[in-house]
Every structure is written in structure tokens, then in C-alpha cells.
Symmetry: C2
Subunit: 298 residues, 2 copies
Amino acid sequence: MSLVIGSIALDTIANRHGRRERLVGGSTPYFAYAASLFEKPKIIGVIGEDFPGEILREMEEKGMDTRGILRERGKTFFWEGAYSEDFHSRETITTELNVFESFRPTLPEGYQEERNVFLANISPSLQRDVLDQLGKDRFIVMDTMNLWINTARKDLEEVIGRVNGFILNDEEASGITGCRYVMDAAEALKKRGPDFIIIKKGEHGSLLLTNQGFILLPAFPKREVVDPTGAGDSYAGALMGYLQEAGEISPLSLKRAMVYGTIVSSFTLEDFGLERLRRLTRQEVEERRNLYLEMLSL
Amino acid sequence: MSLVIGSIALDTIANRHGRRERLVGGSTPYFAYAASLFEKPKIIGVIGEDFPGEILREMEEKGMDTRGILRERGKTFFWEGAYSEDFHSRETITTELNVFESFRPTLPEGYQEERNVFLANISPSLQRDVLDQLGKDRFIVMDTMNLWINTARKDLEEVIGRVNGFILNDEEASGITGCRYVMDAAEALKKRGPDFIIIKKGEHGSLLLTNQGFILLPAFPKREVVDPTGAGDSYAGALMGYLQEAGEISPLSLKRAMVYGTIVSSFTLEDFGLERLRRLTRQEVEERRNLYLEMLSL
């Protein structure tokens, strides 16, 4: 099963479709809900006393392993943001670290041996703490965000040098490398050590670079966006979930995993927060995947 | 056969790979060289006394019908431009209309009956002159450029309302519609009348909108660009050339035509001006197309 470590949050989100308060968010829940369509991901994280028990129970019902989620005294990490009218940018209004401030990830017994590990977006020093606890021969994929590029560059570079795969968005890829073009950015990142780089380009699809070269895939065509929060994390969750299900890492399985990332993230956009993922079924994913394959049947 | 009407020019191009003087360019030659890989396009345009006879002879050898190219006293339309270091923008240094200034397109005997017509990038009023000379039941596709969006908006809108297809790049689509997102721009353009809209997104691929919905295709992955001039016109030439060869217009043939546009334009970038197209063979196109189909074999 995949092991995922990252942030668990309560998010207040405002955009042109309205405002939703204290929705469950953070990189890890988006990842885990998406991955749970394919496997039973193990979650490492921390929540406060205000975290809704209903969601924890639902996660368990969906097969996620929540034994690695610590519940601490105090409040859950809180983020409030507002999107621009056209969703092209977003402004952070509030960030309260709360219980996340003193979080040091510790892997429960047996977790060290999970082969597939995803280091979702948290500080590079916490990502490194996890790396130091893992046994050898893991398949480790990481994400990051702009904040760490600016504030923890050295730690970030160290972690990039220790992972098998790096999945990030186009802005982050440009931010780290200084390259305007995504293919240039991917090559520059790959030279830092990972076996593969995946860059998510939103409406423009995504890109894979391995030793075998580049693979470019388009987005699933979808105009209506209700809330883009978590789309990237659910792309990663579906990708890692499918790789776990497929049982092998190869250029072909990575490509197919990207298709699942593309499809699942296209659903995430359809409602606020986790809402669409909470009611998403594997059958819906397969139906939309068939439309996508038909679009690319040339 | 396809009929193409547009500019024929001599271009001086400077970029980080060097500077080339008075290369044959303009929308029509790029279109026609690309189309001639599939069919024998008929060209309407005007050149001056300084146009290289070697290129005219080569066009004929490649099966292009040049009887519609008028040779006038004076100089050929001249353009000089310089690209930024990263090719993201270009600056026009000189534009001399020369013989193009008084050009009024007249279709030679028999040309009125060509079914497939491409109105390459020239002023919308000249595009309309051609439309007025055509018989009924033509299949007409148009291109445009930012200049006309700003200076001839009313004529441009009239022509858009009279064509079957509109193929343009993402900047132009945003310029005409005011939409930031290409899918929104495509929907706004389609409402103006055309049966289909194709938007070229450079490194991000291209998009088709028909009554059956959207098709998104990625670019052919290619990092090295020697000169992007004419890539869009050769995309259109390969698209129209393939449609002529296929003998039918359908969502499937349009999609396959986009693949040829994608492949042929990826060659155009490999050398200055027309140089790569001049020596490009159908076999090279098919070989690269097979790599593209393999990339999208999921």
C-alpha cells in the first residue's frame, strides 16, 4: 500500500461560486481519497480536536489506514484563501499552523516497510525526517510548493536528490529551475537526481520525463470549475494509487498512472473541497477514462 | 485540391541562433509547402521582381500550382523581425508592403470551384474579396493575426461569420474574445458561426471544438527550436492537406488532420524559415507521427 505524509487541514475557501467554511483539506486527504479508488493508503499526519469525526470514519470506511494520524490537543491546521474571478490566482488570507506547528512525523510499526511512499506538500525538513525513517529500496515520490522554494531551498534540494520521482506544477517547476518552458524545467529537475519528473500544467495537461524521454498528455476537456483546490494532490493520489494497483513501475505504467491522475483530478474540480472525491466511484473514473482514451484514439 | 490565399514575403529573421536575410516566408509558402506533402495546393498571391525564381521552380516541382501567383513590378512584401532570447516574444523591426500594398486577389479560371479554401493570414477585407468570388458549398477555413484584431475588427468579425472553420493561436483567440482560457475562447468563437475552431497552443498542443465537443491534443515533445516562424501556417497547411487527401470532413478526420498539423509544424521549428519544410519528406512525417501515436497509446 502507499504511505502518504503531508498536511491535513481545515480550509475556508471563497471564490465566485461562493464561500465554504472549515472544509477538510490539506495535501494528504486529497491524495488519500484519490488513492483509495485503487488501494488502501496509509496516512501519516496530525489533526486537532476540531477535526470532524465523520470524515475520519468515512476515510476508514473507504479503506484508508488512519492509524498514523495523531490527534493532538488544540486546533487543526487552518488555511483560508480566496480565488480570483477567473481562478487564475489565489490569495492566502489566513494560515494558522496550530497542531501542525510541533508536528514531527513518526512512522507506526510496520510502516517503514511500505514500498510506495508519497511525500506530499509539507516542509522539506519534515519530508527528510520521513526519508530518514524509511528502509532501503523504497519507491519515493515527492511534491512541494512555492513557499518552500523561497524559504527552505537547501532542504528542498536535498530531498529532491533522494527521491525516485518528483511531481509538481508548472509554476513550481519554473520557480525552482528558472526555466520558462516546462520541458526545460523537467530536464533541469531530472538532473538533480529523480528517475522521473511529472509536471502538472492544469488546463494544458501534464508531462512526464524519464530516461526514455518525454510523454505529453492533454487535460480531460472540462470547462466548468467549481473549486480547483486539491486538484494537484488528487492527481498525485490517483497516480500513486494506480501504480500500487498495477504492481510495477515502468514508462508504460507511469503513463497510464498519469491518465488516472488526469481523470480523477478533473472530478475534484467539480465541487468544493473534497466533496466530489467523497462521492466519486471507480466506475465513474473508468467511464471518463474511456472518453479520454476515445479522444486520443487517432 | 486546396486553394490558399495569403501573404508571400521575404523575411529577415534574427534570433539567438543567428540572423538570416531575405528568406522566403509569409503565411502562404509555409502553408503550401506543408500541404504539398499531401496534395497539390493552388496558390493565390503576389510577388515582386526580387522573389527568387529558384523557390518558384521548387514549388512547381513539388506539385504546387503557382498560376495564381502574380509577379508585379517592384519588390516583394518584406518583413524583418527579432525574437527574444527564449522565443517567447518577437519584435517587428520593418514591414514594407511593396507590391502587396495594391494586391487585390483574383481567382484564375476554374479556381472558383475548388472545394477546400484556406484564407491564410491577410487583411480581413482581402479575405472577404476572395469569399465573394467563390461558388457555393465551399469548405472554407481561415486564420488571422493580432494586427487585424486591433485594426480591422468589423471586417474580421464578418469573415468569421462566413467560414466553416477558424484556426488561430491562443493569443489571437484571447485577443478576439477577451477570454483567458482557451476552451472559453473556443466556445465564444464558435458562437460567431464556424462549424469548428482549432486553437494552436505551441508547446501546449492544440484544441478542436466541434458540435461534438472538445478534443485536446498535446504537442510533439521537442525542446530545440531554431526558428518558430511559420510553425502555425505549416500546421494549417498539413491540416488542410490531409483533409484534402482524406476526402471527408468529420470529427475523426479533423482530429487526424490535427495530428499531421502537430507533426509537420514540429519539423518547421528545426531550421530557419522554410528550410526544414523544403527538404521534409512524407516518410519523415509518418515516422514522427508513429512516435506520437506510440506516446498516446495508453
